[in-house]
Symmetry: C2
Subunit: 247 residues, 2 copies
DNA sequence: TGGAAATGTTGATGTGGATCAAACCTATTC
DNA sequence: GAATAGGTTTGATCCACATCAACATTTCCA
């Protein structure tokens, strides 16, 4: 499945009207705004930035200044330990917000790396603060976005702390499917943008275990796997893997 | 679990001066405020609530309405899976903020349970939103608090996803010690408020593993353990457990 | 205050996923 | 289109932690 790769040359004028005409409007920040408020918002987001596969939007330790709304493409966020071990803390797609980790200490605490050529809307944080004092629904929405990130991470903690390998992978696939669905893509077929190793890092498993578990799901008729291409054949079956006895 | 049995009558006057005279001022919300702003803040927090050991401040699914600043005592937050497995997502002490998980969906997504008789300041969320539109530093501080919660959870993900049992427990102890220190308590001796099982749930380990690892740390002269009492004997040694080869 | 329940420790054994290893497949590059 | 590198699959083996079990200690409250 190809990403919403619009983003050819975008002239200044097009940028000015970024939010008001953006198809991701409902996923991203603004919702339920008056025309007047949308105009304000358009003044907030005045830069888009392309990020090539492998490049980062920001890196750990870097000074924090802006949030980034994923406009198209796919990202991972990662933490790196001194000894080199690294942990993928999330995968992010169109409509997701990146960079909120930086607000608390004024510097970023993880790396945000593009897993395919991507595009983000740069939201200068000061501007967002300002506007969210003026526009109530924006404040409200921004708080919800942060809160949901907290809840998402709770879910990952549950996964990492309490689930077995098969459960983790089932939960992962179902979550991806759900997110693709809510963005209008097929829930039953998609291409993974990340490697087995990155999936493993996110799920607290080794890449071999990820691969084996994919194979097992395939044998069980739950999914079809062909490299990065995944077809969900039995969504209910996958769900029933969650919370099932080790059997 | 008993319902939010509200806060017996508490002297209104004492409450009115809650924030302005609170010793946790710097940990909690307000910081660097003018007298005028502090006055506003005092109007925001007009209830304190006692929570007895074992009772909850809020439960999953419950409608969201307020945030809670821990005034004294100790809490855990937990998620429960359908099949009964549960995951402790955090331990919270004086100055910590609880309830931010509820903002995104207008209902709480975890349980906040007191591990000892405790007291919280109830912060009606609507009031906080309102005030943070008027008082810039409050807005700023609130955003930082949320952001730090995101970063804290990143850290837990790293712990759960990439560390071995000994590392997890060492990180846990060091984190606790650090938090006690920053609250003016001893960094080298403290009492655990939670059981081995709760520690295990938080760290993704079984209680037996927690117990054994405590014993091992004791044998190695890193800590002294006597039931819930912990003395950190060799803080550097504990740090060196992190990121050390399985050796 | 006594006795039951909850919590904690320690030992013996089992196992899920890690590790090590070897092919294989796919994409990129020159 | 051959060479190379990155990614994936699969098998054999290992080990960190889980599980099962027995007992010790503390806490709770009737």
């Amino acid at each position: 499945m190809s990403a919403p790769k619009l983003a050819r040359v975008i002239d200044i004028h097009a940028l000015k009207s970024a939010c008001s005409s953006c198809s991701l409007r409902e996923m991203c920040l603004p919702i339920g705004l008056s025309q007047d408020e949308i105009d304000k918002l358009d003044q907030m987001v005045y830069t888009r930035k392309r990020v090539k596969r492998g490049d980062s939007v920001y890196r750990s330790e870097e000074k924090f200044g802006s949030l980034y709304a994923v406009r198209s493409g796919f990202f991972k966020t990662t933490l790196v330990m001194e000894d080199g071990r690294d942990q993928v803390t999330g995968f992010h797609m169109a409509g997701d917000m990146l960079g909120m980790d930086g607000i608390g200490s004024d510097q970023h605490s993880c790396n945000a790396v593009a897993l395919e050529d991507s595009e983000v809307c740069v939201i200068p944080y000061g501007r967002l603060e300002e506007l969210s004092r003026e526009v109530y629904v924006l404040q409200q929405h921004f708080h919800k976005v942060m809160s949901r990130e907290i809840v998402r991470e709770h879910g990952v903690m549950l996964l990492l702390g309490s689930m077995r390998a098969e459960e983790r992978l089932a939960a992962f696939l179902l979550n991806l499917a759900q997110r693709f669905t809510s963005r209008g893509y097929s829930a039953s077929e998609f291409n993974l943008r990340m490697t087995r190793e990155e999936i493993g890092s996110f799920l607290g498993l080794k890449l071999e275990t990820v691969s084996r578990t994919f194979s097992k799901f395939q044998e069980d008729g739950l999914i079809g796997v062909q490299q990065k291409n995944i077809r969900i054949l039995d969504s209910e079956g996958l769900k029933s893997v969650l919370g099932r006895d080790p059997a």
